[in-house]
Amino acid sequence: MREDQFVDELKEMIVDIARRCRNCNYCYSVCPLFESTRGFQVQGPSGILQAIRYGIRWGELEGEEKEILRDILYACTTCYSCVLKCKSSGPGVPLLDGIEGGRKLLVELMIGPMPEQIKVLESLEQNGNPYDEPPSKRLDWLRDLENERSLSYKLLGKGAEVLLYVGCTPSYNEGIKDVARAVVKLLEEVGADYGILKEEKCCGSPARRMGEEGLFEDLSTENLEAFKQSGVRKIITISPHCYNTFVNEYPEAIKGFEIQHYTEFFADAIERGSLVPKLRIEKKVTYHDPCYLGKRNGVYDAPRKILMSIPGVQLVEMKRNRDNSLCCGGGGGRMWIEVEEVKRLSESRVEEAMAVGAEVIATACPWCHIQLEDAVKTTGNEGKIEVKEVAELLASSL
């Protein structure tokens, strides 16, 4: 009975949101999915929203069309450009609430998520990370660093001022482990009283993006409890996705903590003078705004302040930056599915960086990092341009 009510309320919410859409189609002018695909209207914000609306209204959630509807709903990168555009020029439709609501509905009705995402959710549930990696290996990146030098972190448990919430990708992805290590080096340099959770689990954002609400609730509840137990005052994240979900989607109690993305934390430290980049990095650097840090949360300046404080760095802006930055294509669960693109988003972005003469694309998101690094290879630009995390650049300037 309660399940039916949940489904009915969800359907009503989605249709109500879609009724606000006036098909002005302004959102298509900023949608990365539309830009990178053939030009069909269901690969654009309003088209996706109207698809789930009519799918509900016309009872297409049982028939043959349900998988087509699923594919339509899950192709969105959830970059937020449409929401911003509609807010500035249109009726302010909360498009992503409708689209993510649609994903929740499809999961509830067992039509979603995408087949390739099922094992991701299973891994989240069983291993606390989406990569099918054992929890026991989650802190390997830290152990490797400890073999090189002594560290002053606390393994929580209890008792530090700041929690470094590492996240799954920096914990397990070989290339991104270096980012985690760079962040730790920076924390050491600042002399922060920081800790890392003994048994960190996924923030839950992938579950939420894929529409698996129950799993998200479980993970968020567990994490919140661990945060409370740890006694920290402040939480720093490496990934903007973790940041976004803590700040905007976690239960009310999260407001008892100050949440910062690492770029905000270290920009503050630089301003206070507790972090002084010394070594020159003579490079032309462009900064790629991650959607989940920039568009979704308005953090545009902190990463730039850091980059501009590094001696030798020449910061150039790509044609599309800040709130009209081009999505790398990695968000919204798209790291795990293939969407047929006429022009790969990440490749378009690398080309934009090359066009302004950048030698380094700096970013502040593990998924942007992976996507862009991949695209540097596939566009044949290895050796001409490289992708670096803001933390890596800052750490190498100490």
């Binding site: 009724r19 098909n23 189609n25 002018s29 069309e65 009726p91």
Partner: protein
């Protein structure tokens, strides 16, 4: 035309795939739904959803599709971005939707003095490219970031531009390539800089409301980017505002490129949103142009003289571009903010006044929704391109209303709009004719005129394949 059977549909899809290739044909239900939607707030019905959406990449492909459609008597609907405000874009019977998205080539021939573009080019992209080269695109629809060139030519609309200043886009149209409703391809016009004198078939398609042909190539003269000067005038009330505009014309002031007005409430609201002090009355904001800055400034000052003579509270040139940006964009944010505050959908009418009766027309627009069963329940906002004598009385249609109420509300709007345009002997200058305005056309110009258009349509499109429903009128 009865519905296609499953077998006929399957055959048709195969043929279409043969023409444009499989990857550019979609029979996906949701793609078909979205391509059948327009800006009106009521839902579409299953029976009217198109059979398929195709995205041709060339004139030749369009020609083949149209020829084939004729042979099986299936309608073809041409879609750019589907943003037409007069109801011309919402197919009422199933057919093939040709989406012009892929036809986005733009070539600038500076040595010829013109540019050529395909109909799917987005207005803002064309304008930006031309601006990079120092040219000006004589089109300014509010939907420029998504509206297509094809749609603009089919309406011959300049959007917000004041026609008496630089004319309509058609004045710059040198020629077209068109696919006729039987699939034949013709070229019209000239490659010279002088538009044809005498018979020019361009005229059948320019402002053609999509009745007589599919535009596949557009050639327009390059116009150098003019210099601009900006002015603002605050009036005591809308009546003296209207008088100000009349005086501007009667005193033979050079018509401005843009001249917008906002009623008191809209102005306060919009200015506030942009961080400006509320002006304290309805406002006019305008842009004068010239080949030099001095000329533009001179023209703006002359206009201000006329406006001041009607007793403005304040009237001045705006020199600070940042301030102008805020003033100018306050118009844009009003609509979106009103919609966001209420969750409703803004729906406006397009009333065209004549010069002599502008004051009366303004009064009629202030009273636009009086006595209308549904619209009188709603707040009225008034703004528009007053320099072009276009007024937009607008209401917010609540989303809780059911489809039938929404439909009736839209009907009331078009009916009242028709009454006013009839009263003043005018017709829409921005959105085109027919569609939801077919009743007006007949009342305004008479049955004979309507028969003429029907006759042309019948001669050129005997099977009524191309965009059927526009001429007949939509509800």
């Amino acid at each position: 035309m009865s519905r296609l059977s499953e077998a006929e549909l399957e055959k048709m899809i195969k043929v279409l795939e043969g023409i444009v290739s499989k990857e550019y044909v979609s029979t996906n239900l949701f793609e078909r739904i979205k391509n059948t939607l327009d800006v009106y707030p009521y839902e579409v019905q299953r029976e009217q959803i198109c059979y398929a959406v195709v995205m041709p990449g060339s004139t030749q492909e369009i020609s083949e599709i149209v020829k084939y459609a004729n042979s099986i008597k299936v309608p073809v609907f041409i879609r750019g971005s589907g943003t037409h405000l007069g109801g011309n874009y919402r197919p009422h019977v199933p057919g093939i939707v040709i989406n012009t998205h892929r036809l986005d080539k733009l070539e600038v021939f500076e040595d010829y003095g013109y540019f050529e573009c395909e109909p799917g080019c987005i207005v803002a992209k064309v304008a930006d490219r031309l601006a990079e080269l120092g040219y000006f695109l004589p089109m300014a629809p509010g939907s420029r970031q998504i509206a297509t060139m094809g749609g603009m030519i089919v309406n011959n609309t300049s959007g917000h531009i004041v026609d008496p200043s630089i004319g309509k886009p058609g004045d710059y149209l040198l020629g077209l390539e068109v696919v006729l409703p039987d699939g034949e391809i013709i070229e019209t016009g000239t490659k010279g800089l002088r538009r044809p004198a005498g018979t020019d078939l361009t005229k059948l398609f320019l402002g053609g409301d999509g009745l007589l042909g599919v535009i596949t190539k557009i050639r327009m003269r390059l116009v150098p980017q003019p210099e601009r000067a900006y002015g603002l005038a605050v009036f005591k009330d809308l009546i003296s505002l209207a008088r100000g505009v009349q005086r501007m014309y009667l005193e033979r002031r050079p018509a401005p490129l843009f001249m917008e007005f906002l009623d008191d409430r809209a102005a306060s609201f919009g200015f506030g949103l942009r961080g400006l002090e509320p002006p304290g009355g309805p406002v006019i904001m305008f842009v004068s142009i010239g080949s030099s800055e001095r000329e533009a400034v001179d023209k703006a000052e002359k206009i201000l003289e006329s406006l001041r003579a009607e007793g403005t509270i304040d009237a001045y040139m705006v020199h600070d571009l940042d301030v102008w940006e805020k003033i100018w964009t306050s118009r844009e944010v009003i609509g979106s903010n009103l919609m966001q505050q209420s969750g409703a959908q803004l729906s406006s009418a397009e009333v065209s006044s004549n010069l002599k009766d502008l004051v009366d027309c303004m009064q009629d627009c202030i009273n636009f929704n009086k006595g209308l069963p549904l619209l009188s329940k709603l707040d009225l906002y008034l703004f528009g391109h007053i320099g072009a004598l276009t007024l937009h009385p607008a209401v917010l249609i609540p989303r809780e209303w059911d489809d039938e109420q929404k439909r009736k509300a839209v009907d009331e709007k078009f009916k009242r709009e028709a009454e006013l345009n009839l009263k003043y002997g005018t017709c829409g200058g921005e959105w085109g004719q027919f569609g939801k305005r077919k009743d007006f056309f007949v009342k305004r110009y008479g049955e004979r005129s309507y028969e003429i258009v029907k006759g042309l349509k019948k001669m050129m499109d005997p099977n009524n394949i191309l965009n059927p429903g526009i001429l007949e009128g939509y509800r």
